[in-house]
C-alpha cells in the first residue's frame, strides 16, 4: 500500500521533469522545426562572407529554403566556399544569385537567394557563381570618406584653376 503511493509520487516527479525537458526542447529550442526532410548540397564562392555563420538561414523571397552547412577557405582561389543544404522540395534555376543580407540593423546575417531565369535547375553539387559579398561597415565608411575627400579635393582644384 505504502509502496504504490510512493510509486505514484515518483511517477509524477519523473513526468514533471520529462515535461520540463520537452518544454525546453520543443517550445524553447523548437526541435520540431529541425526538418528531417531530404536536402541537397550546393556550393557558392564569396570574396567576403562577413559575419555569416554555419546554420545561418538561406532565404528566397524571405522564406526559409535551406541552411548554411559549412564555411571554408579555399586557398586556390583565396575565396570563401560556402556549402548549403537546400530543402529538396524547392528547385532553383541555374543562374540564381546569392547575396549576404542582414536581418534588421544589428541582426544576424543570412543568405538571400534570388532565382534566375535559366530553364535548367541547380542540382546537388552545383556551384553558384554569381554572388554578392557581405557589406563590411569599415569598407563602406572607407569608400564614403575616399569619395567625399576626392570630390571635395576636386572642387578645390577647380577653384584653384579659376
Amino acid at each position: 500500500m505504502q509502496r504504490s503511493k510512493i510509486d505514484v509520487w515518483v511517477g509524477l516527479f519523473v513526468l514533471l521533469g520529462v515535461a520540463a525537458v520537452l518544454f525546453l526542447a520543443l517550445q524553447a529550442a523548437n526541435l520540431l522545426n529541425l526538418n528531417f526532410q531530404p536536402t541537397y548540397q550546393l556550393d557558392a564562392r564569396f570574396t567576403d562572407v562577413g559575419g555569416l555563420k554555419p546554420k545561418a538561414a538561406v532565404r528566397s523571397a524571405g522564406v526559409l529554403v535551406g541552411r548554411v552547412e559549412a564555411i571554408r577557405f579555399d586557398d586556390k582561389t583565396f575565396q570563401a566556399r560556402v556549402t548549403m543544404s537546400m530543402d529538396s522540395q524547392f528547385a532553383f534555376p541555374k543562374d540564381s544569385s546569392l547575396k549576404i543580407l542582414t536581418s534588421g540593423l544589428l541582426g544576424e546575417q543570412y543568405l538571400g537567394l534570388e532565382p534566375g531565369a535559366d530553364e535548367k535547375n541547380l542540382v546537388a553539387g552545383d556551384t553558384i557563381s554569381s554572388t554578392q559579398s557581405a557589406v563590411v561597415l569599415e569598407n563602406l565608411i572607407g569608400q564614403f570618406l575616399y569619395n567625399s575627400a576626392s570630390s571635395g579635393g576636386g572642387s578645390q582644384a577647380g577653384k584653384d584653376k579659376k
Binding site: 509520487w9 515518483v10 516527479f13 521533469g17 520540463a20 525537458v21 525546453l24 524553447a28 529550442a29 523548437n30
Partner: protein, 260 residues
C-alpha cells in the same frame, strides 16, 4: 609550533592523500555498482522520492523567482538598446546554459545533500553501518549506491524544471506585466536557442553536477566521525565542498563546451 615538525607535515600529507585515495576508490565503486543498484530499483525509487519530490517545491519556486528577476533586470538593460524583444532569448539562454544547472546544484546540495550526509553520518554514529558489515551486507551497495544513482537521475530533471519555470517566470514578467510582444518573445527564443548546443549541454552539465553533489554528500557522510559534532562538521563540509566543486567544475565545463 609543533605543526612545523616534518613528521607532522608528513602525517597530515599522508592522511590527505589517503582521503583522496579513499574518495576515488568509493567513486569507482559506486560507478561499478550501477548494475546491482538498478536491479533493486525499489531502493532507488524510494530515494528518488526522497531527493526529488521533496526538492521539487524549492526548485520550482526558486526557478520562478529567478525568472521574475531576470525578466525585470533584463528588460531594464535591453530597453536601453531598444531590443526588449530579445528579453525571452536572454532569460532562456541564461537559464538553460548557466543558471539552471548551477543554481539547481547549489540548492540541491543544501536541500538534499545535507540530509544525505546527516542520514549516513547518523547511521554510522548509531553503528548501523557496522551492523550491516557484520551481517555481510555491503553498506556501499545497500545504502550508498541507491542514493548515489537516485541523485544522478534526479538532478537533470530538477534542473529542467528550474529552467522551465524560470522561462515561464520571465514570460509572466516580460509579456504579462511589462507588455513585451508575446510573438516576438517566443520567436526570438526559438530562433536563438539550439537544442544540442544550449539545452543539451545544459543537461550534460546538470548530470555532471548530479554526480558531484551526490558523491560529495555521500563521501562526507561515510567519512564523518561517529559523533554529533562529527556529523555536524560533515554536513557543513558537504555544502561548502559541493558548492565549490560545482562552481569550479562549471567554469571548466563551460570553457570546454562553449569555446568550441
Amino acid at each position: 609550533m609543533s605543526w612545523y615538525r616534518p613528521s607532522d607535515i608528513g602525517y597530515s600529507l599522508r592522511r590527505q592523500l589517503a582521503d583522496i585515495g579513499l574518495g576515488a576508490r568509493l567513486f569507482v565503486r559506486l560507478l561499478m555498482l550501477f548494475g546491482p543498484a538498478f536491479r533493486r530499483f525499489g531502493l532507488i525509487r524510494d530515494q528518488i522520492h526522497f531527493l526529488g519530490n521533496y526538492s521539487l517545491a524549492i526548485i520550482a519556486v526558486s526557478g520562478l523567482f529567478v525568472g521574475f528577476v531576470f525578466g525585470l533586470q533584463g528588460y531594464y538593460t535591453l530597453q536601453r538598446y531598444g531590443s526588449s524583444e530579445a528579453l525571452g532569448l536572454l532569460v532562456t539562454l541564461t537559464l538553460v546554459r548557466e543558471l539552471g544547472p548551477v543554481v539547481t546544484a547549489l540548492l540541491f546540495a543544501g536541500r538534499a545533500g545535507t540530509s544525505l550526509t546527516a542520514e549516513i553520518g547518523l547511521m554510522k554514529a548509531g553503528e548501523q553501518i557496522s551492523v550491516m558489515e557484520m551481517m555481510a551486507v555491503d553498506p556501499v551497495q545497500r545504502v550508498l549506491a541507491p542514493r548515489f544513482w537516485a541523485g544522478v537521475i534526479v538532478m537533470p530533471l530538477l534542473a529542467a524544471v528550474f529552467s522551465a519555470t524560470g522561462i515561464i517566470g520571465g514570460w509572466v514578467v516580460g509579456v504579462l506585466m511589462i507588455g513585451v510582444d508575446a510573438g516576438s518573445f517566443w520567436s526570438q527564443i526559438q530562433g536563438g536557442v539550439d537544442v544540442w548546443q544550449d539545452v543539451g549541454n545544459g543537461l550534460i552539465k546538470s548530470v555532471v553536477f548530479g554526480f558531484t553533489v551526490t558523491f560529495v554528500a555521500l563521501l562526507q557522510g561515510f567519512e564523518a566521525q561517529a559523533t554529533p559534532e562529527g556529523v555536524s562538521k560533515a554536513t557543513t563540509r558537504t555544502v561548502v565542498m559541493a558548492s565549490l566543486a560545482v562552481l569550479g567544475l562549471d567554469f571548466i565545463l563551460t570553457a570546454m563546451m562553449f569555446s568550441l
